[in-house]
């Protein structure tokens, strides 16, 4: 059947592709997003920025184009044995014990290193790690968190929204109540509460490392918008004549919900999904900054920014600049792409 019928001259998605190509801003944005994805792929495979955690330069190594700039800290540390200074948040940081291990590991790594560079392509951080490598690795983590969390939130929101909108009645009442409960709690508080229990609670050992804590926190707090949107779409579509016609020919409720209605609302879901990716990346950055995001042995744009605050005061601006630039370019391109997507999918413009 597929071979006979699905040879379509133009279905909705090929039409979308054609329209995206005609939109110049959309095409450029798509190019940038694809470039980021390739970069992430290489970083995940280890070809790129695999050694981001190695201390290849002196502390606060100058960027290569500012090689002549005086670097007191770097020169001092070059001589003295590196003791490591706890970050300023250590007083309130429950992960403080981890620092010892952290210290030991960096110590080991350092011994294997022959010579520390005075300059690095885009400078170094407090421990002399390459900022450019960190930014690349950070992109991988931040974008992965954003995309994974957005996918989870989309699945939750779409399933619940489809049920509430399609069945109505008590199903809708129950889910609306749930929605009201989740939206009445300011999201930052829900995030804080979840972070508190997930990190110190009964299941803390499950989430001790990796990005899943953040993904869970973000998707549990972020499904509501998707739910609202999908529910409204299903309410609109369930009484449309094509759905009634499907019911008249005997299509089951599941078939009507997923084979008939879902493809017709998928463009709404897709656009909302991309908006969620942007939103979640921004929240992840804030969470990681607050120490509630990715674990300390990983790097994300947020952890880079948290280091940057203190660095800026002593004039070391390059880590801030790198994280900001990587993030801004990606999010701008992604947002523009979303806009183009929305335009290309807008039935009114067809």
């Amino acid at each position: 059947m597929a071979a006979v019928l699905d040879v379509t001259p133009e279905n909705a998605w090929t039409a979308l592709w054609r329209r995206l190509q005609q939109d110049r801003v959309g095409a450029v944005s798509l190019g940038i997003v694809v470039a980021y994805l390739v970069m992430i792929l290489f970083a995940t495979a280890g070809y790129l920025a695999g050694g981001w955690s190695r201390e290849v330069g002196v502390p606060y190594a100058n960027p290569a184009f500012l090689g002549e700039r005086p670097n007191l800290e770097g020169a001092l540390r070059k001589r003295a044995e590196h003791k490591g200074v706890a970050p300023d948040l250590s007083a309130i940081d429950p992960l403080a014990p981890k620092y010892a291990e952290w210290e030991r590991r960096t110590g080991e790594l350092k011994m294997t290193e022959p010579e520390r560079a005075m300059t690095l392509p885009w400078g170094g951080d407090r421990w002399g790690r390459d900022v450019l490598d960190k930014a690349i690795k950070g992109s991988q983590v931040s974008i992965a968190v954003g995309v994974l969390a957005a996918l989870c939130a989309t699945v939750i929101g779409t399933l619940l929204g489809a049920c509430a909108g399609f069945y109505g009645r008590w199903v809708n009442d129950v889910l609306e109540w749930l929605y009201n409960v989740f939206t009445s709690i300011p999201s930052i508080l829900l995030i804080f509460s979840l972070a508190a229990v997930l990190r110190s609670g009964a299941f803390a050992h499950l989430f001790a490392s990796g990005i899943w804590t953040v993904v869970i926190i973000l998707s549990v707090t972020g499904w509501t918008g998707m739910y609202r949107l999908v529910r409204a779409e299903y309410m609109k579509h369930r009484s449309r004549e094509y759905v009634l016609a499907a019911q008249a020919i005997g299509a089951s409720a599941a078939a009507r919900m997923f084979a008939h209605i879902l493809p017709n609302v998928s463009h709404v879901i897709l656009v909302q999904l991309s908006l969620l990716v942007v939103a979640f990346i921004k929240v992840e950055v804030i969470l990681s900054f607050l120490g509630l995001g990715v674990p300390l042995d990983m790097v994300s744009w947020g952890t880079m920014l948290s280091e940057a605050q203190t660095e800026l005061v002593i004039g070391k601006w390059w880590q801030l600049a790198a994280a900001t630039a990587f993030m801004a370019v990606f999010l701008t391109a992604f947002s523009m792409l979303t806009d183009s997507l929305r335009d290309a999918l807008d039935p009114r413009l067809r």
Binding site: I92, V181, I286, V313
Partner: protein, 301 residues
């Protein structure tokens, strides 16, 4: 509102009950003896069945008595009441400033839709939205506070007016600027949707000028979705104000709960979460009432 509040209470209760750690362990630390732990369990009612614990929890909420903070031994209700003013001192001006700047801007760019001004503002908005809030705060605090010295870098006092006019302006300004871009973009789309309506064509057929149509017909209609959005916006504003409190050392609820999260100080987290949820619900209720004034099609049930 009552079922919603009940839901919030149950959600928070079970979240901490089943996913949170054993409070007695957290409270007593790692060196406590079994007797000490048992004593703490009795004090907190942890030796009772879960429904009794839920009852205690509800009683605490209603009587506004959450006992003491586990870490600072301060009364939780006291923490809430003393920290709330600082939070409101920056939250409310942020909200007002954002909305009052975003609506006219959005109306202006919607009026020039498709032209250079519109496109330029939209590109600036997208670019501005792509930079993290953190960067604005870090750079803003560094440049305007530290380098130029126009504002105090941080601080807070006991005097409301001094706070509002000395310490609050920089955080408020930064948050409002950050909020302006997404709001403008959103409100612009509301205005654009309305300009496509049939009644705009009717107004043109009457001979009204475009600015008059914008002012008299489009604005009133666009305010309906704007108002919906404002009530959705309120919980989001707390994110900004919490961050600002942490950066600017403002003794508000955000900073308090952030410290509490890092200390696993559950009573503080629970109390602040529930009372701020109640506050959010009240604001939504107020928005519903306002609705009936803006949109005659909606009647209060």
């Amino acid at each position: 509102m009552v079922p919603t509040l009940a839901g919030v209470i149950v959600l928070i209760f079970f979240l901490f009950k089943f996913f949170g750690g054993d409070p007695s362990q957290i409270l007593a630390g790692q060196v406590a003896s079994q007797e000490q732990i048992d004593a703490i369990r009795r004090e907190l009612g942890l030796d009772q069945p879960w429904y009794a614990q839920l009852g205690i929890f509800v009683r605490e909420i209603i009587s506004f008595d959450f006992g003491k903070s586990w870490m600072t031994r301060e009364q939780v209700s006291g923490i809430f009441l003393t920290r709330l003013p600082a939070t409101l001192t920056i939250t409310i001006p942020i909200l007002l400033l954002e909305i009052s700047l975003a609506i006219p801007t959005a109306m202006l760019v919607a009026y020039y839709r498709g032209r250079l001004l519109d496109r330029a503002v939209m590109v600036i908005c997208v670019a501005a939205m792509s930079v993290s809030f953190l960067v604005y705060i870090i750079v803003g605090q560094y440049l305007l506070g530290f380098q130029l010295g126009w504002f105090p870098v941080q601080g807070w006092s006991d005097d409301f007016w001094r706070n509002l006019f000395t310490y609050a302006p920089l955080p408020i300004l930064l948050a409002a600027l950050v909020g302006l871009a997404p709001q403008t973009r959103l409100y612009r789309s509301f205005f654009l949707d309305e300009t496509k309506s049939d009644y705009v064509r009717t107004a043109r057929a009457k001979g009204l000028s475009e600015p008059a149509i914008m002012r008299k017909h489009v604005l009133r209609n666009a305010l309906v979705p704007v108002l919906t959005n404002v009530s959705l916006l309120v919980p989001g504003v707390f994110v900004g104000s919490f961050l600002l409190e942490i950066f600017f050392s403002i003794p508000g609820l955000g900073r308090e709960i952030y410290l509490a999260v890092n200390r696993s100080d559950y009573p503080v987290i629970q109390a602040v979460t529930i009372y701020l949820s109640v506050l959010t619900m009240l604001i939504n209720l107020a928005a519903d009432v306002l609705y009936t004034f803006v949109d005659p099609r909606i009647q209060l049930r």
